[in-house]
């Protein structure tokens, strides 16, 4: 189990962090203002990309991610999906170490571990990404609402957040799995629903700090609507932070899925990296020294999580200039 890294975005420190994007100018003339806004946004994005490219960590992470995404997408080209079935004629002798026919060896049914790992990428990545979307969605919403409106919604929502943080993840996941069933959807939901508090905290802190900035107060004084304030001022300043946070949450989500699957809570009808490890451990791979069964899925997890973390670090450095190398 992993908490998200907060690197100095200690929410309790309430230190302002975040790129100071220039606030978008108030509408002057309807037509060209929009164009100006979009040009500005494009330039800003390109600027971010250029900075990102210079970040070695970030590029390394991106490369690894790219590799795995490609592998996941072209899985059918590497190994036919039939190789996942226990009755496939393409299966070899069970428990065989790596050989020319089976690059990563075979499992207890004789299935190619290479095929399992490659197809498992899809499931693990999908669950990780979807769960993160849920977590970020809820977390950002809660954080924004709490930070922006303050008073009793804030208290209520932060109470809720604290409470969620305190519930032990694993027993909750287990109980939810037995109530809702063990399927990909449920696992995704469980991970998403238990990962949002961290995002909520970060977002709220950032919203609080942005709220007090002069241009926001100016806009408020000028009678700007809530919608305008949120979309034009708050979101652009909170956005990059949420982005960095999202990338890191994916890493945690993938690790969570692995843990749940390993303990037997994964969808029994799909193959993910965590499930491969579950099979392997329960079939005694550790005691029998079947290292080829244990290493590939584990390494895949490590590399993917590492990649997301590196990207997240890189994004974070862009967002918080203080973290860049001196």
């Amino acid at each position: 189990m992993r908490p998200q890294e907060t690197f100095g975005h200690d929410v309790d420190l309430q230190s302002p962090a975040g790129v100071e994007l220039e606030p978008t100018p108030p509408e002057k003339t309807p037509k060209s203002a929009r164009q100006i806004v979009w040009t500005r946004r494009r330039r800003a994005l390109l600027g971010v990309w250029r900075t990102y490219k210079r970040n070695r960590k970030g590029m390394a992470g991106l490369l690894i991610l790219g590799f795995f995404l490609v592998v996941a997408l072209v899985a059918p080209l590497i190994a036919s999906s039939e190789a996942l079935e226990v009755t496939c004629e393409c299966n070899g002798p069970p428990f065989s170490p790596p050989s020319l026919d089976f690059l990563f060896g075979t499992d207890n049914f004789g299935r190619s571990i290479l095929a399992l790992t490659v197809w498992g990428a899809r499931v693990s990545l999908t669950i990780g990404l979807l769960a993160t979307l849920i977590a970020i969605g809820i977390g950002a919403l809660v954080g924004l609402t709490a930070g922006y409106w303050g008073r009793w919604p804030e208290t209520l929502l932060m109470r809720l957040t604290d409470w969620f943080l305190v519930i032990p993840f694993l027993p909750l996941a287990i109980v939810l799995a037995s109530i809702l069933g063990q399927s990909m959807g449920v696992i995704t939901l469980v991970i998403g629903v238990t990962s949002w508090p961290q995002t909520a905290r970060i977002v709220r802190a950032q919203v609080l700090s942005v709220k007090t900035r002069p241009y926001v107060e100016r806009a408020q004084a000028l009678g700007a609507s809530t919608w305008h304030l949120v979309t034009r001022h708050i979101l652009p300043n909170v956005g990059p932070l949420i982005l960095a946070n999202t990338v890191l949450t994916v890493a945690v989500a993938i690790l969570s899925e692995t843990t749940l699957a390993f303990l037997g809570l994964g969808d029994p009808l799909t193959i993910s990296w965590g499930r491969i490890l579950e099979f392997a451990f329960n079939a005694g791979a550790a005691g029998s020294g079947h290292w080829w069964w244990l290493l590939p899925p584990g390494f895949a997890i490590v590399l993917v999580v590492l990649a997301f973390t590196l990207c997240g670090f890189a994004l974070d450095e862009i967002v918080n200039p203080k973290l860049r190398k001196r």
């Binding site: 100095g8 309790d12 037995s178 550790a286 584990g298 490590v302």
Partner: protein
């Protein structure tokens, strides 16, 4: 300040109360009748016996009555009786298993905190240096690695013996069972069994603390008062140890407390891999056996521990950060 602390304590109590209620309803919503599940497949499985077992397990009362009994019991620290283990009181069963977990989690948390902080200090001190990059890479790698996978590899290597690795450690357990060791021999035996899971758990979380410390330090090194200290003519070493580190220590320590919940979760899988008879293994066992009273008790214990840790972190924080103190 006192008002702040009181406020936080009150919040903690509220959260705890919420957890207690949630705990109760959560396990009542789970489908399937525990009594039936326990007996199914044996020749004892028939409606009469199931009903009898339901009664013995206290499942026959109406839900509100059960809830009231539950609350009353919890307040008097009576957590019911476990469904297995000869109907032993949950408190007793947990009590039996708590020491190994305390030993494992306690010692590894201390070790990984200290080691992690030391590494983080040196990395943050010279960001970009070889040590920084090297240690950052290593800790990143450890962070990305599922701790139970690491545990399995270690188990395979040092207890199973694969390839060049010697099998020198026991494969699990807290001590050599039913062996009447006392004194030093007992301590040695326990330590012998502790080495592998301890190593795994320590290394698994070391990275987090290192990174936090590193980044906190970097953050702080950019602050004004550091420039002032330097301008005053203090050597870098003094600046580091007398000014930077104490300020970086605070967020690190509080975050350590906040991470306690995750360390527990990590302990669950590591204990499972090493058959280490602590609360983690107990949790997995309780799940397999649909032992709801036990799960409830464990759930409550973990939540309470995390609530207390959070509370301590908040209080500690408020005490040391003047900005919050003044608020």
């Amino acid at each position: 300040m006192r008002r702040y602390v009181l406020g936080k304590v009150l919040q903690a109590f509220l959260t705890l109360a919420f957890v207690i209620a949630f705990n109760f309803f959560l396990f009542r919503v789970v489908p399937g009748d525990p009594a039936a599940l326990l007996l199914r497949g044996t020749s004892a499985f028939n409606p009469d016996t199931v009903e009898q077992l339901q009664e013995d397990l206290g499942l026959n009362e109406s839900l509100p009555v059960q809830f009231l009994i539950y609350v009353q019991d919890t307040v008097t620290l009576n957590f019911g009786e476990s469904f297995f283990g000869r109907g032993a009181p949950v408190a007793e069963v947990i009590g039996h298993n708590i020491w190994p977990t305390l030993l494992l989690v306690g010692t590894s948390t201390i070790a990984s905190t200290i080691l992690g902080m030391i590494i983080g200090i040196y990395a943050g001190w010279k960001p970009g240096s070889r040590f920084d990059v090297g240690s950052l890479s290593a800790t990143l790698f450890l962070y990305a690695m599922p701790e139970f996978w690491f545990g399995i590899l270690v188990l395979m290597a040092f207890a199973g013996g694969v390839g060049p690795f010697p099998a020198i450690f026991p494969t699990g357990g807290y001590e050599t069972a039913a062996s009447d060791l006392t004194g030093i021999a007992h301590v040695v035996d326990v330590l012998n069994h502790l080495v592998l899971p301890w190593t795994v758990l320590t290394l698994a979380y070391l990275g987090e603390y290192a990174i936090i410390m590193r980044n906190s330090l970097i953050d702080i090194m950019g602050d004004d008062f550091i420039q002032t200290a330097r301008a005053k003519g203090l050597r870098e070493k003094q600046v580091l140890w007398r000014h930077a580190v104490p300020n970086a220590l605070l967020p690190t320590v509080t975050l350590t407390l906040l991470y306690l919940g995750f360390v527990f979760a990590g302990a669950i899988t590591v204990e499972y891999v090493f058959s280490y008879p602590g609360l983690g293994s107990l949790t997995v066992q309780a799940i397999d056996g649909n032992d709801y009273p036990l799960l409830q008790g464990l759930f409550l214990l973990f939540s309470a521990a995390v609530i207390v840790a959070n509370l301590l972190a908040d209080i500690l924080y408020s005490y040391l950060d003047p900005r919050v103190r003044a608020a």
